[in-house]
């Protein structure tokens, strides 16, 4: 085998002045294996992409919620993208508590103002998904513990959130996420 290849190689080298030891067959080998390799890698695309959220999952991406019945100090759990979202009507005392905190001292520095809409500072709308590992924190339902900072408490690994749903203690790295939302009227909020 090797001998055959060697004798064949003499001609193109002499004729075209190719580099030392490079044969026309080497080029064909590299080209063929590269083309097959690229083709093989491209077939991974659909195999990987099929695992991403499908069209029907992505289609359920916004929710409208009536908030007229939520009294100050109350909260509800709604569903947004198959996950809980907390809508909380803060009391003046809770707003004051949140504003008292030195923002710079927080793990994820944000003021209550950053996390609510202009003129609607009493409406705290956050995902009910702990930023640690995704549990639903307690504190939105009637009679649930709110943790030592009066906001939410995650029972899984003990993260405590304050009245602006900012992380204050425990392993969670971030504040409860504020989803994209808008008030379509005084009583209707559209999330997503």
């Amino acid at each position: 085998m090797a001998d055959h290849a060697g004798t064949e190689a003499v001609l193109p080298q002499g004729a075209e002045g190719a580099g030392e030891g490079v044969r026309r067959r080497d080029f064909i080998n590299i080209a063929a294996v590269s083309a097959a390799g690229v083709g093989g890698v491209v077939t991974l695309l659909p195999l990987i992409s099929q695992m991403a959220p499908s069209a029907d999952v992505l289609a359920e991406s916004s929710t409208e919620i009536d908030i007229s019945a939520i009294q100050p100090g109350q909260a509800i759990k709604a569903i947004f993208r198959k996950q809980p979202v907390f809508i909380r009507n803060l009391t003046p005392a809770e707003i004051e508590d949140a504003n008292k905190v030195d923002v710079g001292s927080l793990r994820d520095p944000e003021s209550l103002k950053d996390r609510t809409k202009e003129g609607k500072e009493n409406w705290l709308i956050t995902m009910g998904v702990c930023t640690h590992l995704g549990c639903v924190p307690l504190g939105a339902g009637e009679g649930e513990v709110k943790g030592e900072f009066g906001g939410y408490f995650c029972p899984c690994h003990g993260s405590s959130y304050d009245t602006a749903a900012r992380i204050r203690k425990g392993p969670a790295p971030k504040n409860l996420m504020v989803p994209e939302y808008a008030f379509t009227s005084d009583t209707i909020v559209k999330i997503g």
Partner: protein, 428 residues
Amino acid sequence: MSFPWANEYKPGNPLTQWLDEKLPLPRFVYNAVGAGYPVPRNLNYAWNFGVLAGFCLMLQIVTGVVLAMHYAANAGVAFDSVEHIMRDVNWGWMLRYAHANGASAFFVVVYIHIFRGFFYGSYKAPREMIWLLGVVIFLLMMATAFMGYVLPWGQMSFWGAKVITGLFGAIPLVGEPIQVWLLGGFAPDNAALNRFFSLHFLLPFVIAAVVVLHIWALHIPGSSNPTGVEVKNESDTVPFHPYYTAKDGFGLGVFLLGYCTMLFFFPNALGHPDNYIPANAMSTPAHIVPEWYFWPFYAILRAFTADFLIIPAKLMGVLAMFSAILVWFFLPWLDRSPVRSGHFRPVFKKFYFALVVDVLVLGYCGGAPAEEPYVMISQIASIYYFAHFLIILPIVSAIEQPEALPFSITEAVLGKDESATLAPAAAH
């Protein structure tokens, strides 16, 4: 490879002679687990657990395949289909309990197998590859068991899936897209359940393939033994069959007594009652606990409550949890002592038992709620766990004065070895 004194396979009749020429499967079995495989004569019952692990794998595959004939991997009906198996399918209750308790039995057996390896230095040259493949098998087992626990789609299933896929969310920048990609949605749902079922069915066969490699790698140097002294000549070994087929058979009987006691009298003792509540994305169980066999690692995950330098606490916990197993890959190079067996290593032996206690403490904390004093205890126990592998083992193996080793396995067993007196003469 085998020892030169291994019995040779001799096909006894025309049929096996014909077969031996075309496809020498009987010869292969004879040389692998038959009279043609010489094994150290002094193996104790700790060496039973490899065979028991193989048995558990087969048990899980057989019960799993028949359960899959009745299970429906759809978030709407998965929970009900499991109840259908429990109430309506003939013997379904037994098959499901056999599978669920089989998973626990598998982990019991494998943990003993691993700690056997820790004590007797089974990971040391020339058996590093066996050890590395074993760690791969353990990782695959963990993935398989986790995905299997999701399938009944109860509260623990759902929240377990959410927490574990949430681990990937800890990776900076790409974490969240990876988590969404793994789940096929923003939270565990139909897409996640279906892919977990698909992989839960596939992975046991991948494990079986790696087990073949594990045993193949084992058969090159042959089994280690409680003295850690390598086989020197024929008097050190006995044929696998009938000696160890009998011993393993006896061990299997004892194992089955324990397993069947769990299966028939305490089938739910190791499960969590919350998993009999259908999955509910709106309400997290009071405290999420994984199955008992993940508790030590879960404790390490939860031990990190404060940021470390620039690394957030969450990522640290995830890295530590995976490192707790990945460190095993480096074990053959962390423990440099030339003496394999812990019997002859007085200092190592003490630290070995300290590690056993440490892992039990971690396990206890991992099953307990995330509050004091468990968090602080898991922090101390996690530090000790890593210290054992990364600091204690290298130091101990450098400074320890091991006890005198027997000349050979035969001498260890009989008190004297004829070849011990002949050997120096033969060397000249």
